[in-house]
């Protein structure tokens, strides 16, 4: 190990950030978990008592919690699968080079530069549940071309699938960019070698390209998944606080601001953190290790 004189200045320069991250990320997460284990059920309460995991268990008695978890799962499945498949397909169509590639990329990616609040306004209009004479948006368009009208995000069972459509629209360009970089990272010699060995063009994809895309797919999966589990802006912009599209993040907001129940709000927040941490931590450890090996 080098002498402290050589590395100490570096540590000092990073120290403010270490303190900031230590307090604001880890300190706050810890504080939140501690709050979730108390009975502080109004913000005015001063002498809160430690109650262990009581809040974490009690919340499962609430129908609204079940509903919001179910919604988050439905949304996540449709959004992640939708964005992965569409993003992959767009990259697949472009990977061998195509005229106007730059323009295509720019258009597919532009929703990333805009807030969910702004795009939510258009999507609320597009997915308006009004039917017949009152129909605007997609329902009117569907009616004109003979497709059935639908309640979209107000549908009891499949509303969250509709809610995932704007999210897919917003994020699939990003997935496309990730996959395109992945496709381009496959050395041409490898494909050529497979062809020489008698692989069909499909076989080259199946046995050479797709396996090499696995790390990109994993990255995309993690990014989409963690966005999905904490989704808030989009829901607020499209449907607000309606129960029919309730998710944990919205439930938490309502709990903090409308019901003024810090302990319960912290409990919901803690569950969101746990849901994300379960797959993000292994991924981070894996990717930092992989980088070290290089």
């Amino acid at each position: 190990m080098r002498r402290a004189r050589t590395w100490l200045p570096g540590l000092l320069l990073v120290a403010p950030s270490i303190v900031a991250i230590g307090v604001f990320v880890y300190g706050m997460l810890g504080w939140n978990f501690r709050l979730a284990m108390t009975d502080k059920h109004t913000s005015r309460q001063q002498d809160e008592q430690f109650v262990g995991l009581e809040n974490f268990i009690a919340i499962w008695d609430q129908p609204r919690w079940h509903l919001s978890v179910e919604h988050a799962i439905k949304f996540t499945v449709v959004f992640v699968v939708g964005a992965l498949v569409l993003g992959w397909f767009l990259a697949f169509l472009m990977e061998k080079g195509i005229r106007g590639e730059g323009t295509f990329r720019t258009i597919y990616l532009f929703p990333m530069a805009v807030s969910f609040i702004a795009t939510g306004i258009v999507w609320r209009w597009l997915m308006n549940s009004g039917q017949g004479e009152r129909a605007v948006g997609l329902n009117r368009l569907f009616d004109a071309v003979g497709l059935p009208q639908w309640a979209w995000f107000r549908d009891q069972d499949w509303g969250m699938a509709a809610m995932a459509i704007p999210a897919v629209w917003q994020m699939s360009g990003y997935v496309m960019a990730l996959f395109l970089a992945g496709f381009r990272g496959v050395p041409e010699e490898l494909r050529e070698a497979a062809r020489v060995d008698g692989c069909t063009e499909w076989g080259v994809y199946r046995h050479v390209v797709l396996p090499l895309l696995r790390p990109v797919t994993l990255s995309a999966l993690i990014i989409l998944g963690h966005i999905s589990l904490k989704v808030f802006d989009l829901i607020m912009a499209v449907s607000g606080k309606q129960i029919v599209t309730d998710v944990p993040a919205v439930f938490m907001w309502v709990t903090v601001f409308d019901s003024d129940d810090p302990a319960k709000g912290a409990t919901i927040a803690a569950y969101i953190v746990l849901a994300v941490a379960i797959f993000v931590i292994p991924y981070l450890v894996w990717s930092v290790r992989k980088e070290k090996d290089r």
Partner: protein
């Protein structure tokens, strides 16, 4: 095959642009054409009426967003640059572990820190004796954005500085330059592209943020997104004004995307932990 791929890509372009058509067409419609039967038509008479009203309603929010996003991006960029430099070229024992701990801060759902954060900002207000300075005020919102921006900014700078040849740093050391001197005269002058990527990334995320603003800002400090959501949430606001407001709120980030898209892309890729 090439033609089929081109036509498919073109079809997707049309689908992707449907919301853009709706935004533009609706925003230029006069109120008399607000009937559902004309929902998909272009305006018969084009008017800036809705744009004028939307601008008046949104203006305070846009000003707040500028006051928030400009210092917020510059501060996070400065911290990220110093961290990235140390973590790539002036490493100390445990630097890798620390870097991983930083990266986790990039992925945490901010809901998990929000309630304590509000409490901390209130405590800070009491400490400085100015109610509403941190909690509710722009300084508190900027503080939050800077701190939670440190991980991604550090990541982008670190990955960029790794590509600077270590010989350059060593040469500077041999010449007797210390850590800060080397940073100032060797590293910073070549940091241009990384600075552009970080500033653009931070500015876009600050401009588009809703969660922090809705938890931390008081009404007179609401940025564009919160104002926009309130305008659109009011039942009385006609669609033409909602759409015009949505476009207005997106103009700054869209301009950045169109003219500096290259840097925007690199920021996006960095978010996927790739260099």
């Amino acid at each position: 095959m090439r033609a089929v791929r081109f036509i498919l890509l073109l079809a997707f372009v049309l689908i992707f642009l449907i919301p853009v058509y709706v935004l533009l067409a609706t925003s230029f419609k006069p109120l008399t054409e607000a009937d559902p039967s004309q929902a998909w038509n272009l305006p018969q008479t084009w008017t800036f009426e809705a744009w004028g009203v939307a601008w008046e309603k949104l203006r305070p929010g846009i000003w707040n967003s500028i006051l928030l996003a400009v210092p917020g991006s510059i501060l996070a960029c400065a911290l990220g640059s110093m961290n990235g430099y140390v973590l790539s070229k002036w490493r100390f024992p445990g630097a890798d572990v620390l870097f991983t701990l930083f990266l986790f801060g990039m992925f945490i759902p901010y809901q998990g820190v929000m309630i304590p954060l509000v409490q901390l900002l209130i405590n800070l207000d009491e400490a400085v004796g100015a109610s509403g300075f941190f909690y509710g005020g722009l300084p508190g919102l900027i503080l939050a954005h800077v701190v939670y921006g440190i991980p991604i900014c550090t990541l982008i700078f670190r990955n960029y500085y790794v590509t600077i040849p270590t010989e350059l740093i060593e040469a500077s050391r041999v010449d007797g330059a210390g850590m800060l001197r080397t940073y100032w005269s060797v590293v910073l002058p070549v940091s241009g592209p990384a600075i552009a990527v970080v500033i653009i990334w931070q500015f876009t995320s600050l401009w588009n943020d809703f969660l922090f603003a809705v938890f931390l800002a008081s009404p007179q400090n609401w940025p564009t997104t919160v104002m926009l959501n309130n305008i659109a949430g009011a039942q009385a606001t006609p669609y033409s004004q909602q759409m015009a407001a949505a476009i207005l709120s997106s103009i700054p980030t869209m301009l950045i995307y169109v003219f500096l898209g290259r840097f925007f892309m690199r920021g996006l890729m960095a978010g996927a932990l790739k260099g």
